[in-house]
C-alpha cells in the first residue's frame, strides 16, 4: 500500500478545519495552488516540502518523528505503543497529542491496523491499534544518521563499497565460532549480523568478553555514530591475534591510531566537533576497536572512519531511540527589566533609526555611492557616510542595508551608483516610515549582520549578504523572542499539551498590569529556546541570532532586549496595529523653535520636516539627538541667500516659527549679510567679448551671429557667450568681423571643451526629470504585498469557501485574513476535484519514486517506462538497485548490466509481484 495513496485519502477525508489548519502551518503547500488532493499529498511528502515542515517543528515533535522513522518499518509502520517504548521519558498518552499534531501536519499517516486499501468513506471505529507511517521523503530529509544512530547493517552493506565483504568476514567468524557454517549462496551477512545483534537481550550480553575500555569507547558513540580512526581497514582479526601474542610491544605503534574524533555529520546532533578518548589508554582503545570491528559491531567505512551500526547503537541505548523526551522548553532564569526602561529604549531607537535614515538618504542624495567592481560599496565611502551620520561604521552597514532592502536607495545599473529614491518615503509621517522599515527588514532575504565579517570580507550592499533562509530564520527568532517575553512569570507550560504557537496574545493585553517589569532574555537564552522551538535550523541561526536581535534593538522592535508591543504587532504582520501603536507613542512634531543669542536655533523635539528642511538651509545642524540644534553663521546665511532667500523672508519665517523673539544679533547678522550679498554677480561663460565702441557691440548683438553664439551683453561694451573662443572667433570672422584675440586665449580644440560643458550643464535637469518621471508615488514593500493580496482576494472571492460569507467584517480584518482567504479558496478548489488521480499531475513522479523505493527495498522487478534519448517512451522490466541524486540505478536482466536513468525521464513504474516476472 502506498503511503502517498494513504495520505491522499486521509487528506481527502479530513474535515475542512483540519485542512485549513494544515495550510496555515505549511503555506508552501498551496503556493502555487495545487490541483487536487493527490497533488497536495505529493507536495506534502516531497523532499522540499518535508524539509520545510521539519524546519518548523519543535524539539518534541522532531524527536517523536525521528523515533517513528527509526522504529517504523517503511511498509508496516509502528504503533503508538512501539513509539512510546522508543522514547524515554514519555508515556503513550503523553505522546498522543504530539503524534496527532504530526498527523495533522501530514508528516505521519495514521492507518488503522491492518492497513486496508484506500477508502475515503472509511469510518474510524476499526478495531486494532492504529499504525503510524512516516511520509516517504523523510529519509532524505532526516538523513542516514537520524537520532544520532548509524545506518543499519543492510544499508551499510548496500551503500558502502567493500562493506559487504567485511561484514561477511565478521559474520562468518561469528557463525564459525558457533559451529554453524553458513551456506554462501543464500546467506546474507547483514541480515545475520542484524539478527545476532537484535537477539541480544542487553548491552552487557553483547559486550561479553570485550577488552577493557570498550564500554568507554562506545560511550563516545552515544550521540555521534561515526568516529575517525587511523588505519580503520586493518585486518582486525590478525592484529588482535598479534597484539595478544606480542603483548605490550605493539602498544607504541597503535597509540596514534587510537585517536578518536567524533565526526559530527549529523545535523541534529548537539555534540561538539571533536573529542579525545578521555581516560582510555591508547592501546586499550586500539584493542577495543579491534575487538569491535572483528565482531562487526563497529564497521570500518574507509581508511580513517568507523561507524556504529544502528542495531548496535539502539541496543546500547536499551532500545530507546530518543534518550530524553523534551516536552517543555528549557527552563531559564530570564532577567526582568522595568517596562519604562523597555519603552524608553525602544522609542528612543525608533526615533533614532528614522533620524539616521533620513540623514542617510540626504547624504546619499548628495553623493551617490559608487559600487566596487567586486560588488558592494567600498569601505572608504562607508566611512565617510558614517562620519556624516555620526555613527560607527558597523552601524552604518546596517543602515545602508536597511535603506537598500526598504528600496529607499537603488542601484542604477548604468552608472553603478546607489541613488536615493525616497519620493514616497518623505511624504509619510514618522510612524508610517517606521513600519515601512520594520516590515521591509522582517521580510528581507539579506543578513546585514554578515557585512564586514568573513574572509574575504563581505562588502556592504554586495551579493554575499544574501541568504534565502533569512526571512524564515528572522521570523522564527522573533517568534521565539516573543514567547520568551510573553511567558512572564508563568512557570513551565503544561507538559502534556503542545504549547500554542503562532497566535500570541493580543498586543494590548501583554503588558503585565500589576508589576511594571517585563522579561528581557539574553541572546544565549533566546538561542537555547530557539533550539527547542526549531531544533533543525538552530545551528544555522546560531551565527545570525545576535545580528537579528541587535537589529531588532536598533529598529526599536525590542527595547533593552524585551519585545515591545509594536514589535509584537510587526512580528504578527499586523502593520496597521504597529502603525497605530508607534504613532501614539511618537511625540507630535514640534512647529516652533527657540532662537538664542549665541546664534543657535533649538527645536525642542522632532521638527516638522518642511520646517527642518528650510532651517537646514538657513543654518548648520549641530549635534545628534531628539532635539535639533542649528547654528546660524555668515556662511549658512549666504547659502540661503544664494538659494534665493532674502533677509526679510528669513526674518518673517523665523518670527513665524520662533517661540521667542528673534535675538538682535541674529537679526543684525541677517541684515549685515544681506547688505554684503550680491555685491558681485557670478555667472558662467565660455568666452568674453569686449568692444571699444558700444555701438559696434550693439550692432553685433542685433545680428544673426549673436543668436547662434548665445551672446549676452553684460555691459554696453562687454558680452559673454557659453561657446568656446574658437567658435566665437570663427563665427565673427564668418560675419565679416576681424576680432582681436586676448593674450592666452586657447583657440584650438576648443569646441570639445564647449561640448562637454554643455553636456554637464544640461545633464543635471535631465536626471532630475527622470526622477520626477518615476511614476506614481513609491510604496513600501509591505504595502505592495498588501495590494497584491487584496487583488488576489478579489479574484478568489468567486470560488471562496464558507469563510467568505462573513463579508460584513471590517476592512482590517479582511486584510489580516488575506492568507486565510487564500487557504479557503484553495480548499474550495481541492474539494471540487476527484481525490485520487494516480499517474497524472503532480503526484505522478512522487508515486513513481515511492514505487521505486519500494522495489529497491523488496528487491522486486518493475515495469519501468522511461523516455529514451530519442524521445520515445520505452517500457522495460528492470531491477531497481538504488535511488539517489536524481537518478535511479537499475539492473537490466536482459543485458546483464547496470545502468542509471534520470528520474525526470521516468514516466511510470509498476511493481511486478514476486515470482511472477522474475527472470
Amino acid at each position: 500500500m502506498s503511503t502517498l495513496q494513504l495520505l491522499t485519502s486521509r487528506l481527502a477525508a479530513a474535515p475542512d478545519a483540519e485542512l485549513l489548519w494544515l495550510l496555515a502551518r505549511r503555506p508552501d503547500l498551496m503556493d502555487p495552488p495545487v490541483a487536487d488532493f493527490s497533488a497536495l499529498a505529493a507536495r506534502a511528502s516531497s523532499r522540499l516540502g518535508v524539509a520545510r515542515a521539519l524546519d518548523r517543528l519543535n524539539l518534541p515533535q522532531l524527536q517523536l518523528l525521528t523515533a517513528l522513522f527509526v522504529v517504523a518499518d517503511p511498509l508496516q509502520g509502528a504503533t503508538a505503543e512501539q513509539l512510546a517504548a522508543a522514547v524515554a521519558g514519555a508515556g503513550e498518552e503523553q505522546l498522543a497529542p504530539w503524534l496527532a499534531e504530526l498527523c495533522a501536519l501530514a508528516l505521519v499517516v495514521p492507518v488503522p491496523s491492518p492497513p486496508v486499501p484506500s477508502a475515503p468513506s472509511r469510518t474510524a471505529d476499526d478495531a486494532g491499534p492504529a499504525i503510524f507511517l512516516p511520509v516517504a521523503s523523510l529519509r532524505e530529509v532526516l538523513g542516514a544518521h537520524s537520532a544520532g544512530l548509524g545506518r543499519s547493517y543492510a544499508e551499510l552493506a548496500a551503500s558502502v563499497p567493500g562493506c559487504r565483504e567485511r561484514l561477511a568476514a565478521a559474520a562468518g567468524r561469528t557463525a564459525a565460532s558457533q559451529g554453524d557454517p553458513p551456506d554462501p549462496a543464500t546467506w546474507d551477512p547483514a541480515a545475520a549480523l542484524h539478527d545476532a545483534v537484535t537477539a541480544c537481550p542487553s548491552p552487557a550480553a553483547l559486550l561479553a568478553g570485550a577488552p577493557e575500555g570498550t564500554k568507554e569507547l562506545l560511550a563516545q558513540f552515544r550521540h555521534v555514530p561515526m568516529g575517525s580512526v587511523a588505519h580503520a581497514l586493518r585486518d582486525a582479526e590478525a592484529r588482535q591475534e598479534g597484539s595478544r601474542q606480542a603483548g605490550s610491544t605493539q602498544a607504541g605503534s597503535t597509540q596514534e591510531e587510537a585517536r578518536l574524533a567524533g565526526s559530527t555529520r549529523q545535523a541534529g546532533s548537539r555534540q561538539e566537533g571533536s573529542r579525545q578518548t578521555g581516560g582510555i589508554q591508547g592501546h586499550q582503545a586500539a584493542e577495543a576497536i579491534d575487538w569491535l570491528t572483528a565482531r562487526g559491531l563497529l564497521v570500518p567505512l574507509d581508511g580513517g572512519h568507523v561507524e556504529l551500526p544502528a542495531e548496535v547503537g539502539l541496543l546500547l541505548r536499551n532500545g530507546q531511540v530518543i534518550p530524553g523526551f523534551a516536552a517543555t522548553p528549557p527552563a531559564l532564569e530570564v532577567p526582568e527589566i522595568r517596562l519604562s526602561v523597555r519603552d524608553n529604549a525602544a522609542m528612543g531607537s525608533v526615533a533614532a533609526v528614522l533620524r539616521t535614515m533620513n540623514s542617510l538618504l540626504e547624504s546619499v542624495a548628495g553623493n551617490p555611492l559608487a559600487t566596487l567592481r567586486a560588488g558592494g560599496v567600498g569601505v572608504r565611502a562607508v566611512r565617510q557616510l558614517a562620519r556624516d551620520l555620526g555613527i560607527d561604521v558597523a552601524q552604518s552597514y546596517f543602515y545602508l542595508e536597511l535603506a537598500a532592502l526598504a528600496k529607499l536607495i537603488k542601484l542604477n545599473p548604468d552608472t553603478s551608483q546607489w541613488h536615493a529614491v525616497a519620493d514616497g518615503w518623505l511624504a509619510r509621517d514618522r510612524a508610517a516610515q517606521w513600519v515601512w522599515l520594520a516590515a521591509a527588514w522582517l521580510d528581507s532575504d539579506r543578513m546585514p549582520s554578515l557585512v564586514g565579517t568573513g574572509q574575504p570580507v563581505v562588502n556592504v550592499l554586495s551579493g554575499e549578504a544574501f541568504r534565502s533562509d533569512a526571512p524564515m530564520l528572522r521570523g522564527s527568532t522573533l517568534q521565539v523572542l516573543e514567547t520568551l517575553c510573553t511567558a512572564a512569570g508563568t512557570a513551565a507550560e503544561d507538559a502534556a499539551g503542545p504549547p500554542a504557537d503562532g497566535a500570541g496574545p493580543a498586543p494590548a493585553g501583554t503588558s503585565p498590569a500589576g508589576q511594571a517589569t517585563v522579561p528581557s532574555p539574553r541572546g544565549d537564552q533566546v538561542l537555547a529556546h530557539f533550539g527547542w522551538h526549531h531544533p533543525r535550523p538552530a545551528r544555522r541561526v546560531a551565527k545570525a541570532l545576535a545580528g537579528f536581535l541587535s537589529e531588532a534593538e536598533l529598529l526599536g522592535l525590542s527595547g533593552a532586549g524585551a519585545l515591545t508591543d509594536h514589535g509584537r504587532a510587526i512580528v504578527h504582520r499586523d502593520w496597521d496595529g504597529a502603525l497605530a501603536l508607534v504613532a501614539a507613542a511618537l511625540p507630535e512634531p514640534v512647529e516652533h523653535l527657540l532662537l538664542q543669542g549665541d546664534l543657535t536655533a533649538v527645536a525642542p523635539g522632532f521638527l516638522a520636516p518642511e520646517l527642518a528642511a528650510e532651517l537646514a538651509l538657513l543654518a548648520d545642524p549641530e549635534g545628534r539627538g531628539a532635539a535639533g540644534v542649528y547654528r546660524f553663521s555668515a556662511a549658512s546665511i549666504q547659502r540661503a541667500f544664494s538659494a534665493g532667500r532674502t533677509a526679510e523672508g528669513i526674518l518673517s519665517f523665523l518670527a513665524q516659527h520662533s517661540a521667542t523673539p528673534v535675538p538682535q544679533p541674529l537679526e543684525y547678522l541677517l541684515r549685515d549679510a544681506q547688505s554684503r550679498h550680491g555685491r558681485f554677480t557670478v555667472g558662467q561663460a565660455g568666452t568674453y567679448l569686449t568692444a571699444e565702441d558700444a555701438a559696434a557691440l550693439a550692432e553685433l548683438l542685433a545680428g544673426g551671429a549673436a543668436a547662434a553664439l548665445e551672446l549676452t551683453a553684460i555691459s554696453p561694451t562687454a558680452a559673454v557667450s557659453p561657446r568656446s573662443a574658437a567658435e566665437v572667433v570663427s563665427a565673427l570672422r564668418a560675419a565679416g568681423h576681424s576680432p582681436g584675440i586676448a593674450p592666452g586665449t586657447p583657440l584650438a580644440a576648443g569646441s570639445d571643451d564647449g561640448g562637454t560643458r554643455r553636456g554637464t550643464t544640461s545633464g543635471a535637469p535631465r536626471s532630475r526629470d527622470r526622477a520626477a518621471q518615476s511614476g506614481p508615488e513609491m510604496l513600501a514593500p509591505h504595502e505592495v504585498a498588501r495590494l497584491l493580496a487584496e487583488e488576489a482576494d478579489e479574484t478568489f472571492e468567486g470560488g471562496a469557501g464558507p469563510d467568505a460569507d462573513s463579508g460584513a467584517a471590517t476592512a482590517a480584518v479582511v486584510l489580516a485574513s488575506a492568507a486565510e482567504a487564500a487557504a479557503a479558496a484553495q480548499l474550495g478548489l481541492l474539494r471540487s476535484r476527484p481525490a485520487w488521480t494516480p499517474g497524472t499531475g503532480e503526484s505522478a513522479p512522487a508515486l513513481a519514486l515511492e514505487q521505486l523505493h519500494a522495489a529497491v527495498r523488496g528487491k522486486q522487478a518493475v515495469w519501468l517506462t522511461a523516455v529514451g534519448s530519442d524521445g520515445h517512451p520505452e517500457r522495460r522490466q528492470l531491477f531497481p538497485v538504488s535511488v539517489a541524486g536524481g537518478r535511479v540505478r537499475v539492473f537490466d536482466p536482459g543485458s546483464g548490466r547496470e545502468r542509471a536513468i534520470g528520474i525526470h525521464r521516468v514516466m511510470g513504474v509498476e511493481i511486478i509481484a514476486k515470482g511472477k516476472g522474475a527472470p
Binding site: D598, G625, Y668
Partner: protein, 552 residues
C-alpha cells in the same frame, strides 16, 4: 512620555529648557553628574562626561539614581546606548582602591580580579607597582601614588584613594566666627553659611578634592574654614599677586592668624611662614630649565595645600602635585571646565569634586545677565579698507583694530555716558595715547609707575576720576567694581574663560539696578569681526546679553 524639561541627545549632551516649570528641579538633579557647557537664554546645554560621572560616584551617587533622573525629567526617550554607557562608566570607579596596609604600606586593592590584571599588564603602570601580595592586592611605591592615579584614570579605571594623609606641622588656626571674645571682625559678626560649612565637611571627610563655588560665594572663607579644621601649616596657591593680597586680607579678617603668620611668596616677596600664599606665576618661573621655586611645595611639611582657581592651574604645578599625594589638597574653583582639557588631572591629582554649590547661588551670581554687551560695528573708511586689503596677514589685525574711526566712536560713546565711570581698554599704545589725548583722560600703560597706577585707580574708585584709559598690562590688576561702562577698542583678554570671569568681576549689576555696559568696537568685514564672532558666541553662551549696533 513625560513632558519634562530635559532633552537627552545621543551625542551625550543634555538640553535643559530654562523656562520649563520643572527646570530648577531638573537642574539640581543633573548638576551632580553633568557639566554645564553653554547657558544662553532659553536652552542650557549640559554634557555627560566620564569625569562628571565619576565625580558623581565619588559623591555617593550610583548609576541607578543617574538613570532615574534622566528618565524622570526627560521629555523624549533617552537613547538606550547612552544609559548603558553611563552604567558602564560609573561602575568603573572604585573597582581599584589605594589603601594603607599596616604591613606593606601603600597598596592597591581590587574587588574585581581581572581589572587588576589588566592594569598591571599595562606597559606604563607596571613599573609603578611593587610585589604582588595576593590575588587582589599589589604594593604601590608610595612615591608613585599620583602618577599611578593619573595613569589609572587614563586607562579608564579611576582609583579611589583611601590611603590617608600625613599630618603636617600643627599650627592652630581658628575662625573668628561665633567667638564673641575674639578680636571683633571688621564688618561685624559673621558666621559660615550653611553651604560653606557643608563644603568643608564634605571635603574633610573625603580627604582631598575640589569644591566648586561660583564667584563671590565665599571660596576664600571655605579655604579658611578648611585651614581651621586642619589646624596645620598651609600653603595657598593663587593665580596672581592681587589675588594673594585679597587672600591675606580675608584671612586676617576671618581667622585668628596674624600678619606675622601669613607669608607672601610672589614676585615681590619670598616669605615662607606657617601660612604661605604663593602665586602660580612664581612657582612656574623657569630659570635655566629649572623651576627654582617649585621646591616650596615639598620642602616644607604642609598639612594642607589649597589651590585657588583650579581650572587655571598650570601644568608644572600638576607635575609637582603628583608627588604630593600624601598631603591634603583642597581645590577651589567656579568651574571644572578647563580650556586645555586637563580636567582629568584635576580629578586624579587634586581629587574628585567634593561639593557643588546649589544652583540658586549661581543664579544670583552669573546667570542673570551681569552685564550688557554691545558690539559696535564700524565701517572702515575707503582708504583704510584699501590699506587693509593690501596688508600682510601679520599686520592686518593691527591695521583694523587701531583704525582712526574707532577713536571717533570712543569719543561719542564717552559723551553718551557722561557722568558714569568709564574704562577704555586697548592693546595698542599709540592708539591709546591718541584716545587718551582726545578724551583728556589719564592712561595707564606698561611704563606707568606702580605708584602712579595705585593713585589713578584709587581716584577712579573714589569717583574723582570719571574716565580712565588702560592698556593690556593693566588687565591683571583690574578690580574696579565701580566701573559701569567699559569700552574695548582693541585686543581681547587672554583666554575666553578669563575674559568672562574678569568681565563678571568688573561689571556687577549696580545698586540702582542699572546693568553695566561693555562695548567692544569692531571694524566691519575684517578679522577683527571674526574675533568678535567668537567672543559673541562665548559671551552669549555664558548668558550675557549681547547686542550688535552700527557705529553711532
Amino acid at each position: 512620555m513625560t513632558d519634562g524639561p530635559l532633552i537627552v541627545q545621543s551625542d551625550k549632551t543634555i538640553l535643559l529648557e530654562v523656562d520649563h516649570p520643572q527646570a530648577t528641579e531638573a537642574r539640581h538633579a543633573i548638576a551632580a553628574f553633568a557639566e554645564l557647557e553653554r547657558a544662553p537664554e532659553h536652552m542650557h546645554t549640559y554634557r555627560i562626561t566620564p569625569l562628571g560621572l565619576w565625580n558623581a560616584r565619588a559623591a555617593g551617587l550610583d548609576a541607578e539614581q543617574v538613570l532615574d533622573t534622566l528618565l524622570t525629567y526627560s521629555r523624549f526617550p533617552v537613547p538606550h546606548p547612552l544609559l548603558v554607557d553611563i552604567e558602564d562608566v560609573m561602575s568603573r570607579y572604585g573597582r581599584l582602591r589605594l589603601e594603607k596596609d599596616p604591613v606593606h604600606g601603600l597598596v592597591m586593592r581590587t574587588t574585581d580580579f581581572p581589572v587588576l590584571e589588566e592594569v598591571m599588564h599595562a606597559k606604563k603602570v607596571g613599573p609603578l607597582l611593587g610585589p604582588r601580595i595576593d590575588a587582589s592586592t599589589v604594593v604601590v611605591h608610595s612615591s608613585q601614588r599620583g602618577a599611578l592615579k593619573q595613569l589609572l584614570l587614563k586607562a579608564g579605571w579611576p582609583a579611589e584613594d583611601l590611603a590617608g594623609y600625613v599630618d603636617g606641622t600643627p599650627h592652630p588656626i581658628e575662625l573668628t566666627a561665633g567667638d564673641a571674645d575674639a578680636v571683633a571682625p571688621k564688618d561685624g559678626t559673621w558666621s559660615l553659611r550653611p553651604y560653606q560649612n557643608l563644603a568643608v565637611e564634605n571635603f574633610w571627610a573625603g580627604g582631598s578634592g575640589v569644591v566648586v563655588l561660583p564667584c563671590g560665594a565665599g571660596k576664600t572663607i571655605v579655604g579658611a574654614a578648611a585651614m581651621a579644621v586642619s589646624g596645620t601649616t598651609t600653603l595657598i596657591l593663587v593665580t596672581n599677586t592681587v589675588s594673594a593680597r585679597q587672600w591675606k586680607a580675608e584671612l586676617l579678617k576671618r581667622t585668628s592668624l596674624t600678619e606675622a603668620e601669613i607669608g607672601e611668596y610672589s614676585g615681590a616677596a619670598k616669605e615662607v611662614r606657617p601660612v604661605t600664599i604663593a602665586t602660580y606665576q612664581v612657582l612656574t618661573m623657569r630659570r635655566g630649565g629649572l623651576h627654582p621655586h617649585l621646591e616650596l611645595l615639598n620642602d616644607n611639611d604642609w598639612g594642607l595645600i589649597i589651590y585657588d582657581e583650579v581650572h587655571l592651574l598650570p601644568a608644572p604645578i600638576f607635575r609637582m602635585t603628583a608627588d604630593l599625594q600624601a598631603r591634603r589638597r583642597l581645590g577651589l574653583t567656579a568651574t571644572l571646565v578647563r580650556e586645555d582639557g586637563r580636567e582629568g588631572e584635576v580629578f586624579s591629582l587634586i581629587g574628585p569634586k567634593r561639593y557643588d554649590a546649589p544652583w540658586k547661588d549661581i543664579e544670583s551670581q552669573g546667570y542673570i545677565a551681569p552685564a550688557d554687551c554691545v558690539e559696535v560695528r564700524i565701517d572702515l573708511p575707503r582708504d583704510e579698507r584699501m590699506a587693509y586689503a593690501m596688508a600682510d596677514d601679520a599686520d592686518k589685525y593691527r591695521l583694523c583694530a587701531s583704525s582712526e574711526s574707532k577713536s571717533d566712536v570712543v569719543e561719542k560713546l564717552v559723551a553718551q555716558h557722561a557722568g558714569e565711570q568709564i574704562l577704555v581698554i586697548g592693546q595698542y599704545i599709540d592708539q591709546l595715547d591718541e584716545i587718551a589725548g582726545r578724551l583728556d583722560a589719564p592712561l595707564i600703560k606698561g611704563s606707568t609707575t606702580v605708584k602712579e597706577r595705585e593713585r589713578l585707580f584709587g581716584e577712579f574708585r573714589q569717583g574723582l576720576l570719571k574716565t580712565l584709559v588702560v592698556s593690556k598690562v593693566a588687565n591683571f590688576s583690574i578690580d574696579l567694581p565701580e566701573a559701569s561702562v567699559a569700552i574695548q577698542v582693541s585686543g581681547s583678554f587672554g583666554s575666553r574663560q578669563e575674559e568672562a570671569q574678569r568681565l563678571g568681576r568688573l561689571m556687577r549689576p549696580k545698586a540702582d539696578g542699572r546693568t553695566a555696559r561693555f562695548y567692544a568696537l569692531v571694524a566691519r568685514d575684517t578679522i577683527d569681526a571674526d574675533f568678535a564672532a567668537k567672543r559673541q558666541r562665548f559671551l552669549a553662551e555664558q548668558g550675557y546679553a549681547y547686542r550688535i549696533i552700527d557705529a553711532p
